[in-house]
């Protein structure tokens, strides 16, 4: 159940130019335009491009979300949300975009896409999906999947997911991904026909499985620890942030009560009346300003959440390495024991216990012909084993090399993104403070006029 190097049939042929990654407006991505022609189902095989391909920028957006009802696999009525994915190609020269594809997908299809990518690109840190259910909610936020705010944030998360894939140098060329964007009907069947579920190593999903690996690459062991720490610290941070948001909401909203009472009080005051009334108005402004502020902060929280989920993707790559290493070690062990057996048979010394040896003792020696036959079989097995070991070794090294390259890429992306997120947090705080200063300066003026 080993994964070979990425199947060329599954991939669009590589373009010589690198994708743009996070380009202007964060939406643009370069994808080999030629691939559109080559990507058709069944045409597979060798689609090396010779000439005549050019780069077009492609914009992907998840622009709408819609509630739908339909029948599920058990023929029961269900309600779900469908998301509209629009792909635009942008002419390099004049920057105008033309809508090339538009289709609806639901969350489960996104999941299917991701599971497929996990199987075919085990050495890649596959971008995570936004959360299935709302977590880290504070009291005003709803935990309901149908809640419009949740749906909106999920829409943005799904768009981000697609953009991450589209800007990944390797993943962006995947045919199934391309079809996800362009072929609405039958896509599910196409994915399932790849048989990826069969290729999936069930041991990867087994969370409890521990493999006693003797010589894992230390970098992966460290990476696993890192991803555990990352997950733990971001969870903690998100939890506290949610509580802080809750409290902040309370502070702002209670001030709103002043507005009402000041207004009623101003009715009986001759001199203070005007000041009270207008101050009350500012209290209302202050109280309502928190809604926008906290909505912005939710986006910040979502940015952190993405990296919380990325931790799991990192762990997946580490597990894959462990498994490969484990299989390698087992194979080596196996080979060594066969070699020893062979040697013993050849020299006549029995050092290792074997059933054959026992039965021989009990029922009599085997004939030299029988022994020869056995040696021959073993020698064949040893040969095979050595070939396998060699190729496993090669695969393992390839995997480590490729995986580590992607991990380095991921690290840089993470550092960039987190720095950006923290800076955007500061910008949000600054905006909040400025609003606060303005409201309270106005209020103070009203108070001083009382």
């Amino acid at each position: 159940m080993e994964q070979g190097p990425p199947d060329p049939e599954r991939q669009l042929q590589p373009a010589p130019l690198e994708p743009l990654g996070r380009s202007e407006a964060g939406l643009g991505v370069a994808v080999d335009e030629e691939a559109e022609g080559a990507g058709e189902e069944g045409s597979g095989g060798d689609t090396m491009t010779h000439n005549n391909f050019w780069l077009k920028k492609i914009e992907i957006s998840v622009s709408e979300a819609e509630k739908r009802t339909g029948r599920n696999a058990m023929n029961m009525q269900e309600t779900y949300t469908a998301y509209l994915i629009e792909t635009r190609s942008v002419e390099h020269t004049d920057g105008q975009s033309v809508l090339t594809d538009s289709l609806w997908r639901r969350y489960s299809e996104f999941e299917l896409l991701r599971n497929y990518l996990l199987v075919y690109y085990p050495h890649i840190v596959v971008p995570p999906l936004p959360e299935k259910r709302a977590e880290f909610v504070w009291h005003k936020l709803s935990a309901d999947n149908m809640d419009p705010d949740f749906v909106e944030r999920r829409r943005i998360g799904l768009e981000n997911f697609l953009l991450r894939i589209a800007s990944h140098p390797i993943l962006c060329r995947d045919k199934i991904f391309y079809l996800f964007l362009t072929q609405e009907g039958n896509w599910k069947e196409t994915v399932n026909e790849t048989g990826f579920q069969l290729k999936a190593d069930s041991r990867l999903k087994a969370l409890n499985a521990t493999f006693r690996v003797k010589n894992p690459d230390k970098r992966f062991t460290d990476l696993k620890h890192y991803s555990d720490e990352l997950q733990s610290v971001i969870s903690h941070l998100l939890r506290v942030r949610a509580r802080v948001a809750d409290r902040l909401y309370g502070v702002y909203k209670v001030h709103g009560n002043y507005g009402r009472v000041f207004s009623e009080w101003s009715a009986i005051e001759k001199e203070m009346g005007d000041g009270l009334q207008s101050a009350g108005h500012h209290m209302d402004v202050y109280a309502s300003s928190i809604d926008d502020i906290l909505e912005d902060e939710e986006h910040y929280a979502d940015q952190l959440k993405e990296y919380l989920f990325y931790a799991e993707a990192l762990r997946a790559v580490c597990r894959k390495h462990e498994l490969m290493q484990y299989d390698l070690e087992i194979a080596a062990q196996d080979l060594a024991s066969k070699k020893q057996q062979c040697e013993e048979l050849a020299t006549g010394t029995v050092r290792t216990f074997s059933l054959k040896g026992m039965t021989t003792k009990l029922f009599g020696q085997e004939t030299p012909e029988q022994r020869e036959a056995r040696i021959k079989v073993l020698e064949e097995q040893i040969n095979e084993g050595e070939q396998q070991l060699k190729s496993k070794n090669l695969e393992g090294r390839e995997f480590v090399k490729n995986a580590w390259a992607d991990i380095e890429r991921f690290k840089e992306q993470k550092n960039r993104d987190l720095k950006e997120a923290l800076i955007s947090y500061a910008v949000m705080q600054i905006s909040m403070c400025k609003k606060g200063i303005q409201v309270w300066t106005n209020a103070k003026e009203c108070f001083s006029k009382m």
Binding site: R247, L418, L422, A426, K444
Partner: protein, 451 residues
């Protein structure tokens, strides 16, 4: 009660010495104020259990003795004290300066209670000395208030802080409670001192100057408990009559008082709630910064930025603590005092109504019943004078009170607004400097990559 503390040698002619001093206000002082039996002190009558009323049971905690933070700065001259008093008019005419500080726990076999040190400095001739230092307990303040209400039934007497905390304290009398009460008592005495009439009240003078035993013997004079009880019953009955004939201006006043009372109570609740929310916000924020430090331990490339963010959050945290305590010191006590004032005012209205009712009932009696028990015209005349006096006193005091209320409320809310502005300005500066340093770093890095 224990004896008074002797004045320190730094002061000139100290307290009237303990023991028999012929000049000290002793038992024979006549009752101040007129009004005798008819004036009723509802607040005092309710305090039937005078001896128990502030059985303040404390743990004998030595920390109570360490009250450094409670003593306000003691100015050395009357003039320098002018800056301390924010809340009254005509500061340049002040000749009476009072401070309340140094709460101390006293333990006897029967009870444990707290006394407060009261220091009075004055240049008035009628005081035997220019400086006095006495110790009083809450009970004594209650007594004083009662006497003032008795003597001036239609003046707006400043409110006393409540006897007990209304809600939610584990220890009934912890440090915060004592400090809040001390500040309120300080305000109470100063308001009296600044009041054009009350400041010359004789009981007030005795309160400020007499030693413990002198005060207790002085207190024992005056109408007994039972007679005061009887007066209540008559008062309740007659106050209804007073309401019927209430002059227009007092109807307006009453309406105002009712509405004001409603609104100020609401504002008190809102303000307390804001304080609570700010405190809880502060508590959560305290945890927020350190998580970023924790995170920085596993991120080599993000150590600096994470540590910077953590320190920004910590600074904002401190700023919010400051804002919160500002609220607790400026807005909350003022609003609460006016809640108590509004209750006071309703009492004043009632008393005015009672005085009027007395007159009205005698007039009625004169008009309808020609019996032996006819009130003499002189009696009616006296009552008419009394009503007029009471009304005028209230009117004048009312204007004064309204003016003060406006100033106090204005000041308190302006303070709160300023506190908030300051808070946001501090946070803004913190985050802006973080952003600047990040931009600078970025520029540095960019220029390093150039060659």
């Amino acid at each position: 009660m224990e004896g008074e503390r002797r004045a320190s040698q730094a002061r000139s002619s100290g307290l009237p010495a303990g023991g028999a001093d012929a000049d000290s206000p002793g038992g024979g002082t006549p009752f101040p104020g007129g009004g005798g039996s008819s004036a009723l002190l509802q607040a005092e009558v309710l305090d039937l259990d005078e001896d128990e009323d502030d059985l303040e049971v404390f743990s004998k905690d030595a920390s109570l003795m360490d009250m450094n933070s409670f003593s306000p700065m003691m100015p050395t001259s009357p003039l320098s004290m002018i800056n301390q008093i924010k809340f009254e008019d005509e500061p340049d005419l002040k000749d009476l300066f009072i401070t309340v500080d140094e709460p101390e726990s006293h333990v006897t076999t029967i009870e444990t209670f707290i006394t407060y040190r009261i220091i009075t400095k004055t240049s008035r001739g009628e005081f035997d000395s220019s400086e006095f230092e006495v110790r009083r307990r809450y009970q004594d303040f209650l007594w004083l208030k009662g006497k003032l209400e008795e003597a001036h039934p239609t003046l707006i007497i400043p409110p006393l802080p409540e006897k007990f905390m209304v809600k939610g304290m584990v220890e009934r009398f912890n440090d915060d409670f004592i400090e809040t009460r001390r500040k309120a008592l300080h305000k109470f005495l100063n308001r009296i001192a600044d009041h054009p009439t009350l400041t010359f009240n004789e009981d007030f003078k005795i309160f400020l100057t007499a030693q413990a035993w002198e005060l207790s013997s002085h207190k024992k004079q005056g109408p007994g408990l039972l007679s005061r009880m009887g007066q209540t019953v008559r008062a309740v009955a007659s106050s209804m009559r007073g309401v019927k004939n209430r002059p227009e201006e007092f109807m307006e006043m009453n309406n105002f008082i009712e509405l004001f009372s409603q609104k100020i109570n609401l504002i008190d609740k809102i303000s307390q709630r804001i304080y609570k929310e700010e405190r809880e916000y502060f508590d959560e924020m305290k945890e927020y910064g350190p998580i970023h430090i924790l995170w920085s331990a596993s991120e080599e490339d993000l150590v600096d930025i994470l540590k910077d963010v953590a320190s920004c959050i910590d600074r904002c945290c401190k700023a919010t603590e400051k804002r919160m305590s500002g609220l607790g010191e400026a807005l909350l006590p003022v609003v609460h005092e006016y809640v108590l004032y509004s209750e006071m005012l309703m009492g004043v209205m009632k008393r005015r109504d009672q005085i009027q009712a007395e007159l009205d009932s005698k007039v009625e009696a004169l008009t309808y019943k020609k019996t032996d028990a006819d009130p003499l015209p002189e009696e009616i005349g006296k009552l008419e004078d009394k009503v007029e006096c009471a009304n005028n006193a209230l009117k004048a005091d009312w204007e004064r009170w309204k003016q003060n209320m406006q100033n106090d409320i204005k000041l308190a809310f302006t303070d709160m607004a300023e506190g908030n502005i300051h808070y946001y300005e501090q946070c803004l500066a913190t985050w802006e400097s973080f952003l600047t340093s990040q931009t600078n770093l970025h520029l540095e890095e960019a220029s390093e990559e150039k060659p």
